[in-house]
């Protein structure tokens, strides 16, 4: 049983914590020992949110050290860049193609990194970078809030666990009225990563 260390990063309100719950639950269903740790300080208030999820035969530390992450799931591009140093050399990044501007950028005092910069930074560490149009896909399905599950769908293609186990976890965690759209979001995410050439 090989270990897998996941780092999820995003902005408060994007569903980062729900996604990490699904990811932790899926690992348990697949027979791993799992630990999950949230670093969310004041998540509702638009700050950076990160969550560590570890799958292994036996997990000790709930935190993953800098430079030790196998798979980074980023719900926002600036946060992907901010936490790029957590990836191990050759690790994989799955990045939502969405920018949420910090107030200092909206006010014109700071500059948001352009897509070239995002790719340069991630490319310097990661073995592969998958950009996924999570928000666009979720909007097409009729619920922008499901973009976190689109990203989970994309991530699921990189992990050797059957789709059914992921879907069972999703069914346990999302509000029942949104189950169908989340199921569709997950499957669309799986297709999206297949359709995008790896960087």
């Amino acid at each position: 049983m090989t270990k897998l260390d996941f780092l999820l990063v995003g902005v408060g309100g994007q569903g980062t914590l729900l996604a990490s719950d699904v990811l932790a639950d899926t690992g348990l269903r697949a027979g791993y020992d799992v630990k999950k740790s949230e670093v969310h300080g004041m998540a509702q208030r638009g700050g950076s949110v990160t969550s560590h999820v570890r799958w292994a035969e036996h997990v000790y530390s709930p935190l993953i050290g800098r430079g030790e992450v196998d798979l980074m799931l980023a719900f926002e591009k600036l946060e992907a860049v901010r936490f790029a140093g957590f990836l191990r050399p050759g690790g994989v990044a799955v990045v939502n193609d969405q920018a949420i501007l910090p107030v200092s950028v909206s006010a014109g005092t700071d500059v948001y990194p352009d897509d070239g910069e995002v790719r340069r930074v991630l490319g310097a560490v990661a073995g592969r970078v998958h950009m996924v149009a999570g928000l666009a896909i979720a909007e097409r399905l009729g619920n922008a809030r499901a973009s976190n599950v689109v990203l989970l769908g994309a991530l699921s293609r990189l992990v050797d666990v059957p789709a059914e186990l992921w879907l069972e976890s999703i069914a346990q965690r999302v509000p029942p009225p949104t189950l169908e759209v989340n199921r569709a979001a997950f499957m669309a995410g799986r297709e999206a990563i297949g359709a995008i050439p790896t960087a």
């Binding site: 902005v11 408060g12 932790a24 348990l28 020992d33 799992v34 630990k35 999950k36 740790s37 949230e38 670093v39 969310h40 300080g41 004041m42 998540a43 509702q44 208030r45 638009g46 700050g47 950076s48 997990v59 000790y60 530390s61 709930p62 935190l63 993953i64 050290g65 800098r66 430079g67 030790e68 600036l78 946060e79 860049v81 901010r82 790029a84 140093g85 990836l87 191990r88 050399p89 501007l101 910090p102 107030v103 200092s104 950028v105 909206s106 006010a107 014109g108 700071d110 500059v111 948001y112 990194p113 910069e117 930074v121 310097a124 560490v125 922008a144």
Partner: protein, 571 residues
Amino acid sequence: MRVAAAYPGTPSTEILESLVGYPEVTAEWAPNEKVALDVAIGAAYAGVRAMAVMKHVGVNVAADSLFYASMTGMEAGLVVVSADDPEMHSSQNEQDNRRYCKFARIPCLEPSDSQEAKDLVGLALELSEEFDTPVMLRPTTRIAHSSTVVELGERAPERDVPGPYHIDPAKYVMVPGNARRRHPIIEERMGRIARRAEELPCNRVEWRDRALGIVTCGVAYQYAREVFPQASILRLGMTYPIPAGLVRRFAEGVRRLVVLEELDPFLEEEIRLLGLEVEGKAIFPRCGELNPAIVRERAIEAGLLPEGARLPQASLSLPPLPPRPPILCPGCPHRAVFHVLRKLKLVVNGDIGCYTLAFQPPQSALHTCGCMGASIGVAHGVARAGLAQKNVAVIGDSTFFHSGIPALLNVAYNRGTAATIILDNGTTAMTGHQDHPGTGRTLRGEKTVRVEPEAVARSLGIERVYTVDSYDLQAVEQAVRQAIDGDGPAVVVARRACALLPEARKTWHALAVDAQRCNGCGLCLQIGCPALMRSELKAASGRALVRIDPLMCTGCETCAQVCNRGAIGTK
């Protein structure tokens, strides 16, 4: 467990929110941690098991009660949960509350994962009853905000409520004569607990290679296992008092003895007091949280691990990145009030809550924040200094009920001139929307009396009390001006529900900028709402116009009131 009481505080809040799901436990929010602990002590005096839950700095508020409870003991188990916050993810300091255990003469238990966080509650209750002492259970943020696999055991059969009340004044009335007789009993108790610590299963030795022996506790145990898979480990689940015999035997069995613990060198000092040679904070940092990467790096520097233990790292040059700190949410009612305070150039003595975030640009309208309830007393002192500038206290509704009331009484009594502004958003927002005495609901969601800050202020002797809608900029400005210009004490209650409350969400609607009227002056951006940003469109002056993100906007209209050109409104 039959009675549990708490005041919300990160990272302890979820404990009572989970306990409320057990109907056999009476779980209550108290206005502050001292009251919560007194409630738990009372229940334990009456012979039922009880728990008080708080964050680390809450123990400062409750400390007086912790000390008398240590002196009296109880008739049934009492657990005090102190959730410490290394790294200060959501706190003003990172005090190590193991110190309180030594100070107040009570045992300290520290869980290393979720399973132990559950199991040690049971042990704490048993030890509490065996030794007639409160027991502190000390999780840290990394335990409290991590999830690990938990196996549930058999539920202990529910106990009958004992009775009648056991009256024993020599034990429970701490007048000096009784207290003098109790103190030696407490010291003798600590000796017995230390002997019991020698055989507790939560204190255990894991023998591996004898070259390095690590004494560790809490989440640091996990880091030790991860970074030093070959080392021998003494894992202490009870960190005060320490088992001297077990520590000595472990020390004799290894060639180099090192303590790995977060924050203070607490175990290190206790071990050194045994006359043993030990290293700890000379190697590992005292400030902030540990993690495997920090532990590995310091261990290599100290020669505990070979150079080859270093993991490969990519060389990474990051551009300067815009920070993304927590900020006031779109639609936050505090935003409008701070806009007025900044406009009036007041010195603002603040308090603990979401509104503390208004210290940051662009509001930059909060100038002190120390601890719960400090604002009003500090503001009174600032006013007494006699400077020409005017100052106000700003405090939230939950914080006002927590510890603002005695300070406001002081202002009334001494006829203070600093006005108090109570930001009443109808909830304890910062910790995730907990009820409090001003909401009219209990932790169980049951209806109860609703206490109004205005009525409290009047009853304390404040004659001038103004109530305004936080979203109404003009009304807020007028009330604040009246409060600071008049004679004697004054209170302004700025009321508007937190925009994230379910009821408030129902009224959300997006505003839009009229591109014909906007001239890109940027006045609206000064309120610091994340829903407002520069657009691609340019005004005739060349300045970029402002646009509103319809997914974020709640329609509070603070920006619309700030705009001179009437450019912002409902689509």
